[in-house]
C-alpha cells in the first residue's frame, strides 16, 4: 500500500489517538509543574463602636482575575512531585531518621498517601492477575470435559461478571456482603463471630476487592483459553497417549506448552487492566481502607477545588510505573520483530 493512501486511511484514527491520548500526556506533564495560585489575601480593617480590628480575608476578585489570567496556576517545578501527597521526600527523611527499626519505618512510609496507593495497586495487580489466570484456566479445562450441550449455558453465565460494568458488579457484591446481607450473615454464621463485617476491617476489605477482581477477570481468561484448548494438536495428544503419557502428563507436556504464548499475552493484558483498579473501590465503598493510584487522581480532581497539579503529578508517576511494568514485554516485541525482519 502506498504511503500516501496509508496515511489517508489511518488519519482519523491516528488524529483521535494523538489528540486525546498523546497530547493529554503532554498536557499532564506541563500541568504537573504548576500548582494552584496561593490565596490572595487582603487586610481589612473593620471598625465598630468598640474599636478597630484588622482581619485577613481572601480577596475573591483578585483570585478571579489571577485565575483568568493564568488558569494553569503558578509554576512550581518539581515541588509537587516531592510534596507530602506524592513522593513525600521530607516526610521520608524524618520517618527514616527517627524510626526505631525497619518495620516501624516501613509501616509509617506506607501510611503516606502515595505509597499507600502504590502498595495497594501493586499488591492488587500481583495478586489478582495470576489468580484470574488460574481460575479462568480451571474453568476452561472443566468446561472442556463436560458434555457439549452444557457449553452454551455455561458460557452465557460465565460472561456476565465481565460484561456488566465493573462498578455495577462491585455494587451488587457490596449489597450481598452487607452485615445483614446473604454473604455477610453466612460468614458470621461460619465464624461464629456476630460482629464480623467485611466492610469494617482493612484486610477483609482488601480481600473483597481482590475477590471482585478475580471474579470479573476470570471470564475473559476462560474464553480465550477455552478457544485455545480447541486448537491443541490432536496428533500430538494421541502420540503422547501411545507413548503411555497419563492424562496429567499430556496436560503438562502437550497442552500447557501449546497455551504458553497465549498465557503470556493474557498476563500482559491482565496487568495493564488491573493496574488501573479504581471502579471496584468506589463500588465496594472501600475508599476508607484502600486507595489506588487511579483513585488518588479521581479524588484530587473531584474535590471542591480540583487539584490539577496534584492529579497531574500522580498521573505522571502512574505512567512511569506502567512503563516500567511493560518494559519487558516491549523489549520482547522488539526482539521478535527484529528476528522476523
Amino acid at each position: 500500500m502506498p504511503h500516501r493512501t496509508f496515511t489517508l486511511f489511518i488519519l482519523p484514527s491516528m488524529l483521535a489517538m494523538l489528540l486525546f491520548i498523546a497530547l493529554p500526556l503532554v498536557s499532564v506533564v506541563l500541568q504537573s509543574f504548576y500548582v494552584e495560585h496561593a490565596q490572595a489575601l487582603v487586610q481589612v480593617e473593620t471598625c465598630d463602636p468598640f474599636g478597630c480590628k484588622t482581619e485577613i480575608r481572601v480577596d475573591a476578585t483578585a483570585m478571579q482575575a489571577l485565575n483568568a489570567k493564568e488558569p494553569q496556576g503558578r509554576f512550581n517545578g518539581f515541588d509537587t512531585y516531592l510534596d507530602g501527597a506524592h513522593l513525600a521526600v521530607d516526610e521520608l527523611r524524618t520517618i527514616w531518621t527517627r524510626a526505631p527499626d525497619m518495620a516501624a519505618g516501613l509501616s509509617q512510609t506506607l501510611n503516606l498517601p502515595f505509597y499507600r496507593a502504590l502498595l495497594f495497586t501493586l499488591v492488587y495487580t500481583v495478586v489478582v492477575s495470576p489468580l484470574s489466570l488460574g481460575l479462568g484456566f480451571l474453568i476452561a479445562l472443566s468446561v472442556n470435559i463436560l458434555p457439549r450441550v452444557t457449553r452454551g449455558g455455561v458460557i452465557y453465565i460465565t460472561l456476565l461478571p465481565m460484561i456488566v460494568p465493573s462498578v455495577i458488579g462491585a455494587l451488587t457484591l457490596f449489597w450481598m456482603i452487607d452485615q445483614n446481607g446473604i454473604i455477610g450473615s453466612f460468614l458470621q454464621w461460619m465464624t461464629g463471630d456476630n460482629t464480623l463485617s467485611l466492610k469494617a476491617s482493612g484486610a477483609l476489605a482488601w480481600a473483597t476487592l481482590f475477590a471482585h477482581g478475580v471474579w470479573s477477570n476470570a471470564p475473559f481468561v476462560f474464553i480465550v483459553f477455552f478457544a485455545a484448548l480447541q486448537t491443541v494438536p490432536r496428533d500430538t495428544l494421541e502420540a503422547a497417549m501411545v507413548d503411555g503419557a497419563s492424562r496429567f502428563e499430556r496436560l503438562r507436556l502437550v497442552t500447557l506448552p501449546h497455551l504458553a504464548p497465549i498465557a503470556t499475552f493474557l498476563m500482559l493484558i491482565l496487568i495493564m487492566d488491573n493496574f488501573r483498579v479504581f471502579e471496584s473501590i468506589v463500588g465496594l465503598s472501600a475508599t476508607a481502607h484502600a486507595s489506588s493510584l487511579s483513585s488518588l487522581i479521581f479524588f484530587a480532581l473531584r474535590g471542591d477545588t480540583p487539584l490539577f497539579g496534584s492529579a497531574a503529578a500522580t498521573s505522571m508517576l502512574t505512567v512511569i510505573c506502567i512503563f516500567v511494568l511493560l518494559l519487558p514485554s516491549l523489549r520482547r516485541a522488539w526482539t521478535g520483530f527484529r528476528s522476523k525482519a
Binding site: 493512501t5 491516528m14 500526556l25 472443566s142 462498578v167 449489597w175 479504581f278 468506589v282 516485541a333
Partner: protein, 295 residues
C-alpha cells in the same frame, strides 16, 4: 466430543469433579445479579434488613406495607420520581455516538494496518498497545483544565470523541486482525479492475467484513454503555449517563428508599446487557479470542 477415540474420554470421577467446580463457579457468577434483581422488588427495610438476611427472601415488611411480596415501588421511584429516563436517553446518545464514530475510524485504520507491509505499520500497532495501557484517569487529568478553558467540558460529543480515542487501540487491533483474515487478492483484483483504494475498501472488502464489524461494534457499544470514569468526569449533571448516576444515588445522604433507587437502576442497567449477550454470545466470544490470540 463425538467421534473421538474412547481413550480420550475423561474418567467419570474427573467429569463429576469438573461439573461440581463449574456449578460452584456459575453460582458465584450469577448469584449477585439474581440476588439484586430479587431484592429490587422489595422495600429497603427487607432488602437491607437490620434483623435478618432472610427478610430479603420473604419480604415481611414489603408484604405488610404493600400487601404483596413483590413491589415495583423502587422502579417507579427511580424511573419516574428521579427521572432516570433522562440518563437512559443520554446513555443511548453516548453509546450510539461511540459505536458509529469508533467503527468509522477503526475500519479505515484497521484496513490500512492490515494491508501495509511497511515497518511503521508495526510500530503504530505497538504504540496502540502502549496507549491501551494508559489508565483513563491519567489522561482525564490532562483534559480537564483545557476542556474547562475552551468550553468543551460537559458536552456529549466531547465525551464521545474521548471515549472513541481511548478505545481506538483495542478497536484497531481487533479490526486489523479481522481484515487479515480477508485475502489480499480480493482487493488487489479490484484495484486491477480500476477501483481506487477507497472503492476497493468500500465496495469489495467491507461487504465481506460485516461479521468483524458487528463484533467490534458490540465491544464499542459496551465501552460507551459501561463507562464510569470518563462520563463522571466530563459530563455535566444534566447530560449524565446511567452508570455514574447510580453512584450519585449512593453519594447523597441516606434517606429511606435512597439505596433502592440505586438497586432498581442497577437492575435496569444490567437487563439490556443480559439480552445483548443472549443474542450475540458467539460474536463476543469470537471477538475476545480474535483480540487476544491474533492480536
Amino acid at each position: 466430543m463425538t467421534g473421538s477415540p474412547r481413550a480420550f474420554r475423561p474418567p467419570v470421577y474427573l467429569v463429576l469433579l469438573a461439573a461440581g467446580f463449574i456449578a460452584v463457579w456459575l453460582l458465584a457468577a450469577a448469584l449477585p445479579f439474581v440476588w439484586t434483581a430479587w431484592g429490587s422488588f422489595k422495600l429497603q427495610g427487607d432488602f437491607f434488613s437490620m434483623v435478618s438476611w432472610q427478610d430479603a427472601l420473604f419480604g415481611p415488611r414489603t408484604q405488610a406495607l404493600t400487601g404483596s411480596a413483590f413491589t415495583g415501588q423502587a422502579y417507579y421511584d427511580v424511573w419516574v420520581g428521579q427521572g432516570f429516563w433522562r440518563q437512559a436517553l443520554n446513555t443511548i446518545v453516548i453509546t450510539l455516538g461511540v459505536t458509529a464514530v469508533s467503527l468509522t475510524f477503526g475500519t479505515l485504520g484497521g484496513y490500512a494496518l492490515a494491508r501495509s507491509t511497511a515497518r511503521y505499520a508495526f510500530w503504530i500497532l505497538i504504540a496502540a498497545l502502549v496507549f491501551r495501557a494508559m489508565p483513563g484517569l491519567t489522561l482525564v487529568s490532562g483534559y480537564l483544565l483545557p476542556f474547562f478553558e475552551w468550553n468543551l467540558w460537559g458536552h456529549q460529543w466531547t465525551t464521545i470523541i474521548v471515549l472513541v480515542a481511548l478505545n481506538q487501540p483495542f478497536t484497531l487491533w481487533l479490526l486489523h486482525s479481522f481484515f487479515l483474515t480477508i485475502p489480499r487478492d480480493l482487493d488487489e483484483s479490484a484495484l486491477i479492475d480500476g477501483c481506487t483504494r477507497l472503492q476497493a475498501f468500500r465496495l469489495v472488502v467491507m461487504p465481506v467484513m460485516w461479521p468483524g464489524v458487528i463484533t467490534t461494534g458490540i465491544f464499542s457499544f459496551l465501552v460507551g454503555y459501561s463507562d464510569f470514569v470518563i462520563c463522571a468526569m466530563l459530563l455535566s449533571e444534566d447530560n449524565q449517563t446511567m452508570v455514574p448516576k447510580i453512584i450519585g444515588f449512593l453519594g447523597t445522604t441516606q434517606q429511606p428508599g435512597q439505596v433502592m433507587y440505586a438497586v432498581a437502576a442497577t437492575v435496569s442497567v444490567i437487563l439490556p446487557l443480559l439480552i445483548l449477550v443472549l443474542f450475540s454470545q458467539r460474536r463476543i466470544v469470537g471477538g475476545l479470542v480474535a483480540g487476544a490470540v491474533k492480536g
